[in-house]
Every structure is written in structure tokens, then in C-alpha cells.
Amino acid sequence: MQTIQLNVHSNHIDFLLSMLQNLKDGIIENIIVDKPIANTSIANSTIRLTPKDSELFLEALDRPPQIYPKLKEAFEQYENSQIKI
């Protein structure tokens, strides 16, 4: 199994998204980089991305939706009818 380390420029998002959307559980297997990608380095490691691009890729990999504490708390208060008029 080949793993890759990429520093992703936003111009490459489309290409990499199409590649990564076929992955399961974030495991990279038999990846062939079929064209040169500027600012890209390949190493024996897991994917490394800028924080912004990392978020995009995790979404593309069907990461579970984010939990927002305020939203969850407000929902629980709603369900428990803790607000009185």
C-alpha cells in the first residue's frame, strides 16, 4: 500500500476530491498520481493538508456532521422544556 503526503493548493481541490471520494475510511490504496501536481510532495506517510483543505477532504470522505455544543445544548433545553414564560 502506498500512502501519500500532499501539501494541497486550492487549485488542486477538484482533482484531489475526485480521487479521494473513492476512498473508504480514509485508507489510501493503489493511488496513481497520473499527472504532475505543483507543490506536491510524495512520502511514505498519511495525507497532510492545510487546515482549510483538510476540512474539505474530511467532508468529501463523508465525515460525520459536526456537533455544535450550543446547538445541542439548546436542543436538549428545548426537549426538557427548561425555559419558562
Partner: protein
């Protein structure tokens, strides 16, 4: 506490005052007409001891999604979807400020939106925040559309996950 659809014969619309003219005017004179024409639905939180007294309200309808103003991952995910729920208005009477009624109404609205999306699928809810209230929605996970200062969205999947669905 529960919300009910606006009933002009039951609710004293004219007495409602949230200190924002546009939101007051809408409830006073337009909400009922829009509902009769099936353009919007307005839901009222009544004072439990005096149902004619309106504590707060929100209005729901549908709108279109400007896909180009979403992050690339959401553009890809929803590339052929253009419809979204819209929380068009949400307001609390000044007598009931600072009691977390706004949060309660927002959750109530999101629950209705989530139920509707289970029947007729759409991918997100949008809100057009009035001046200074975008931060209120951001606290609950809403994100601003690209290059927008008042228009925010929240994916249905996020609502479902946070509501334990």
C-alpha cells in the same frame, strides 16, 4: 411550550413589539396574507396563560441555494439541488427578551424544517439575518455564504446529527 400557526382571530398581532419595525410590520399586516396564499407559514409562541399574547414568532418558506457561494465540498455534494428551507423571520417580543426564547424558537423552527425534509428532501436551511444577529446564528453552527455578511446556512445533516437523529 409549543408553537401554533398564526391565527388572526386568536392572536393579538398589533400588540407584538420586538423593537424592529420590519419584523413588527410583517406580523401586523403581511404574515396572515402570505400564509393564505401558501407563500409562507408563520408560527406563534403564545403566552400559556394568555394565548392571544404573542411571545415570539418565526416564518418559514422555501428559497433557492446559490451554489457558487457554498464551499467546494458542499457544491459538489449538492450540485443538482437548488431548493432550501428559509427561516425568513424570527422575533421575540420585547417583554420576553433575555429568556432564551430566541434560541427556543430557533430549535422549534429547525425541528419543523427537519421534519419537512424527511418528507420532501432538501439539503439545508438558510437564514437571512438582520443587522447584528448573524452572530446569534453562528453560535448554533450556521455558516455565512461566501462573500455574504447576513446570509447563513446550516446543512440538514448537521441538524439531524445534533438532534440525535
Amino acid at each position: 411550550m409549543q408553537t401554533v400557526q398564526l391565527d388572526k382571530n386568536r392572536h393579538n398581532r398589533k400588540a407584538f413589539d420586538c423593537e424592529v419595525d420590519a419584523l413588527n410590520d410583517y406580523l401586523h399586516s403581511m404574515a396572515n396574507q402570505h400564509s393564505l396564499k401558501d407563500n409562507t407559514r408563520t408560527y406563534i409562541l403564545e403566552n400559556s396563560e394568555n394565548p392571544s399574547d404573542i411571545v415570539g414568532y418565526y416564518t418559514l418558506t422555501m428559497t433557492t441555494i446559490e451554489l457558487s457561494k457554498l464551499p467546494p465540498n458542499l457544491q459538489k455534494k449538492h450540485f443538482n439541488n437548488y431548493s432550501s428551507a428559509l427561516i425568513a423571520r424570527l422575533a421575540v417580543d420585547k417583554k420576553y427578551k433575555h429568556k432564551k426564547i430566541g434560541s427556543w424558537l430557533l430549535i422549534d423552527a429547525l425541528k419543523r424544517v427537519l421534519n419537512a425534509s424527511d418528507i420532501v428532501a432538501f439539503p439545508m436551511v438558510i437564514v437571512d439575518a438582520k443587522d447584528g444577529v448573524a452572530e446569534f446564528y453562528e453560535k448554533f453552527g450556521f455558516s455565512l455564504f461566501l462573500n455574504e455578511e447576513k446570509k447563513l446556512y446550516l446543512p440538514i445533516a448537521t441538524i439531524r446529527a445534533n438532534f440525535g437523529g
